[in-house]
Symmetry: C2
């Protein structure tokens, strides 16, 4: 019986994880849960799963939940809040496996503490590896525990890597759907609307990651994640556009063989894989090979999607540069969603913030969080100046 | 240093194996060679590789070679002939690894003896597994030695299987190019010429295997091979048509994940994989992922290609039925190549021979060879009766 903590239980990955746990009651049980701002769902989850600890974001939500759970007769659920509560959820002694699925840097500290506490961690949170990959992977190696990727691409790579030893890997090939603007001419990029950018062809996801998919920054983040997770340099992590997202990623070995992973586009599959690794257990998440017809591939257009190049640059330098990349992207995407800047301004803001951020080594999670705050302030400044002048940001930045 | 015996050194796989051995002089050396009727090439290979034993098919060729090698000053190469010579090549005490690449049942005995002698065997000969798979795999299990497949599909499966345990495999998916008649309407099958059937779209191969590819019997043999090699029932070995032959085969796991193997269509790659397993070594046999554009798939048309259904039937019953299938196919294909029977007569001859062959268990290689002779005689009779009457074989068989 594997005892599971979920960081981000009310989010999309959190709910999918609970669905997987529900399907395998003999294998998994919920030990602790960390939710966010959705108190109603957090209450339902506490009633259904009876965690040792339930943590939520805000103190007043915790107080209300405490009362509500007491009224419902659930006196054995300890209700906590804030960053400290999430860390308690992640490091509880009865937890074997931590699913890290809080979006953004707010999941970082708890994830790092889970690794430090010797837990096996399944990573659905991108930021952990993008901004603090060096720290987290070093700690996991020290603990001798695997970091299991829970996103379709890195999970696919993890599966393909079983076909050989790490020293026998030539390249990792991440597939990219190409996003909604794969076939849009670059000349039309300046006039891309929020509505158009939110219309992702393959995956239904949150708003930021959908925009990140449209700019290919999401793929750029995945390049950085792959570098950190599999300890390989950026020039050996390549991107290939594959609109059907049927092949989730590939590994090329030194002998010239490639292994590719194929499955349905359902996050429960990588979650199940991570939770059961090194075993595989039967599921009803079947991919119908009989219905396979056409798979298309093309190289990514680096000129149309400058975010991908910026990510490679950040991956090469590492440290503070990846923090700047992520923070600037989050701020720029929020400004785009808020119609403060245009689609083509997103990479411009990021490029400037990266240029203004000195390269620096990361010695602690606190340093990561402080660099992250600085980069956000810088990005907000660029965005504000652009917005107040009401002119294209390029004119300001130049 | 791995010491290698090649059974069938002058054939296509044999020559590719020597090319691989030549590329890795620090890893491999040639211990013994068994050639066929090409004495000139056998002589060249003996001079180049200085094997302990060189065996050829015919006694007079052996005598001539012995004299020629003595004149050339090569007195340390023992020249043998016939089946006994091939067995000596396969079982020589200085041999670690045997590449079994003699086409047809004549490679059977030596391959079986190699397994019995505790050698690791790389199998490029289809017949070994099709007609005597039960015997050979049982012996390999007894010896605790792997049987490593050297054909692109089973080699691909072998690689994909590394992604899980055998008990976690749901299905094996063999890809089929579909042959030259993939898009030919069934109504035109009766008038297919030898010339048309020899025109394979993807692989350059021998004449029989090219016709077997056109009828999909080759894929049927591969289904049987997969059943024997990986010890799974025929209903869990499926065929999917994939004209580009880029994905060489796939394994579907119980959790719903599939792994697929991709590489160039060059037999040196599966040879290298088998010779170096469980390691992978760098090669220049690169597949260019950047140039990947379209991959197409479709289910096989069982009505157009009845040979595939016959192979599934033989695979299910096993024993004498797979011997009948292989022997009848070899005779029927030879008759087709000789323009004695039509393209659609090939499955008819096989079906009749299979029907006339009682199911029987295989207790020894001698039994296999005797059943093989009987099935060939039976098949020849059907072909002869068809030829003499000068009428479609269907009329005779009914």
């Amino acid at each position: 019986m594997k005892r599971i903590a979920i960081l981000g239980s009310t989010g999309s990955i959190g709910r999918s994880t609970l669905s997987v746990v529900e399907s395998y009651p003999d294998r998994f049980q919920i030990a602790t849960l960390a939710a966010g701002h959705n108190s109603d769902l957090a209450f339902e989850q506490a009633v259904r799963w009876r965690p040792r600890i339930l943590s939520v974001a805000k103190e007043q939500d915790a107080a209300a939940l405490r009362a509500k759970l007491r009224s419902a007769g659930l006196t054995d659920v300890e209700v906590l809040d804030g960053a400290a509560g999430t860390v308690r959820v992640a490091t509880h002694p009865e937890v074997d496996f931590v699913v890290s699925a809080i979006v953004g840097v707010s999941g970082l500290e708890a994830t790092y503490e889970a690794v430090r506490a010797g837990k096996t961690v399944g990573l659905a949170n991108k930021e952990c590896l993008v901004v603090a990959g060096e720290l987290i992977t070093a700690e996991a190696r020290r603990q001798g525990k695997p970091l299991l990727p829970i996103d379709s691409e890195h999970n696919a790579v993890h599966q393909c890597l079983r076909g050989g030893r790490m020293a026998e890997v030539e390249r990792v090939w991440l597939t990219a759907s190409g996003g909604p603007f794969l076939n849009t001419p670059k000349s039309e990029f300046a006039s891309i609307t929020v509505q158009q950018a939110l219309n992702h062809p393959t995956w239904k996801m949150g708003r930021r990651i959908t925009i990140d998919s449209a700019t290919l920054m999401n793929k750029g983040f995945e390049v950085i994640e792959a570098c950190r997770l599999f300890d390989i340099p950026p020039d050996r992590v390549q991107v290939i556009v594959h609109p059907q997202s049927t092949i989730h990623s590939m590994v090329e070995f030194v002998d010239g063989s490639l292994l590719a992973q194929i499955s349905v586009t359902d996050m429960r599959l990588p979650i199940l894989y991570a939770l059961t690794y090194p075993d595989r257990v039967p599921s009803d998440l079947r991919f119908s090979v009989r219905d396979l017809r056409h798979l298309d591939f093309s190289p990514p257009d680096m000129a149309k999607f400058p975010c991908l190049g910026l990510a490679y640059e950040a991956a090469s330098i590492g440290g503070a540069k990846t923090i700047a990349l992520n923070a600037a992207d989050e701020v720029a995407v929020a400004a785009f969603l808020d119609e403060q800047i245009g689609f083509e301004d997103i990479p411009r803001v990021i490029e400037e913030v990266m240029a203004a951020t000195p390269a620096g080594h990361l010695e602690s999670i606190q340093k990561v969080l402080s660099l992250d705050r600085e980069a956000r302030l810088l990005a907000s400044e660029f965005v504000q100046r652009s917005r107040h002048k009401g002119s294209p940001i390029r004119a300001i930045l130049q």
